[in-house]
Symmetry: C2
Subunit: 247 residues, 2 copies
């Protein structure tokens, strides 16, 4: 999907496909090579990595100027902090905000609940909503009263990775619901024997919500668009700045 999107917009995409048993050093070598290549403006390590590989070490090795996924802790730190701007905003969180902005859904002063707190979606999207002046609550596996908190939210971001956990009666009437979940559930009526569903019970929730994104077809395509946007921004920056610029 990502490669196809690159072709469509005229970006050159290089794929480095390594075997599942590739060593950490081999992966690092490839990252370093791409870091050093002035023709490369964005590097994406497809997660999750195999268990024998230290994810932190690999992600930290990506040049901050090419970290189009925005997962480097320095980027995340700047994303969280007032008065700081990251070089790249992680794609899915950026896509969620873009959806809200394009639909002209007010964020400032609104109650937002983020279900899930992963490094790649839940946490950064919560921090972004906070930067846009929403009042943000983060619920997760240890939360005892998810439903009552979600019920108070004008904006719900579901990113827990739990199939249809957010029920229709959890949603405040008129709320904006963004479903980041991609879960495969068994479905004998399908040829593949399975079906893709989100973290929200779409059929029920759409009767209550003011806005709701479907799965598939909602956040997914927006994430890819944001990845292309980040890469373009990275390329522009590379062409406009002196070589050894400061992150």
């Amino acid at each position: 999907m990502k490669r196809k999107a690159c072709t469509e917009v005229g970006m050159k995409s290089i794929s480095v496909d390594l075997p599942g048993d590739a060593s950490e050093e081999t992966i690092l070598d490839h990252v370093m090579e791409l870091n050093a290549d002035p023709e490369v403006h964005g590097i994406l390590v497809q997660l999750p990595l195999p268990k024998h590989v230290n994810e932190e070490r690999i992600l930290n090795a990506i040049s901050i100027e090419k970290d189009v996924d925005g997962f480097h802790p320095l980027n995340i730190g700047k994303l969280c902090m007032k008065g700081r701007e990251p070089l790249f905003v992680p794609c899915t969180p950026k896509g969620c905000i873009e959806l809200l902005l394009r639909m002209e859904i007010p964020i400032k002063g609104k109650r937002a609940v983020v279900v899930g707190r992963s490094n790649i979606v839940g946490l950064p999207v919560a921090m972004l909503l906070n930067k846009y002046d929403a009042t943000v609550s983060i619920v997760h596996s240890s939360t005892t009263d998810c439903k009552s908190l979600v019920k108070e939210a004008d904006i719900v971001i579901a990113a827990a990775g739990q199939a249809e956990m957010v029920k229709g009666d959890w949603i405040k009437p008129g709320a904006a619901v963004i479903d980041v979940g991609t879960n495969y559930v068994k479905d004998p009526t399908k040829k593949s024997g399975q079906r893709l569903v989100g973290d929200v019970d779409f059929t029920e929730a759409k009767k209550v919500a003011g806005w709701i994104t479907p799965v598939p077809g909602g956040v997914g395509p927006m994430t890819i668009a944001m990845l292309l946007k980040n890469t373009l921004e990275g390329a522009k920056r590379a062409f406009s700045q002196p070589e050894d610029s400061n992150a």
Copy 2:
């Protein structure tokens, strides 16, 4: 206070007092000098800096291994992210958690509300509470229903810098209330003409809260203790690691 505390525990403290019109370059030179000095294990830049100085540039210049305040965005990023550990946790947030832990106040699964979202207290303490599995909400100047959110909280961290804004009837009976505020209000009965108060109306709130920290004498001394602890940890790390260790 900080210098006195250092003396008490046997830490050598060097003060570099610069005039208010010191240039950014002068401040940077001093930071660089302290970075390079192997006898220095912690560097603290007293905030706020004068308006003509770029705070971000100064703070980013502090060696990550000596950033005992923990304000570097790389530290903040690691503090926020699951599975990552910062080299130093910012002192006041660390002190808040220490108070809860020492009092054996449960955090996991509890509702926590942080009032304020500054880079030095509100934001990092919210992220720490999230790491300790509390369900965290961050309220701030754009929040329209502060009281109702605070009222649901088992743990309240008041760090807005607004004198006595959190009223007694905002507090859930039995809640733990940590007051980080330090505000001077006029008081003609005092010789100085002013009085130090927190962000919580202590007199009223203590009738409802299960635990509450006073101002002064609550979080303040704990912050200094955590600063000493961070410095000690930094020194230990410096002695136990090879010279060019990786942050």
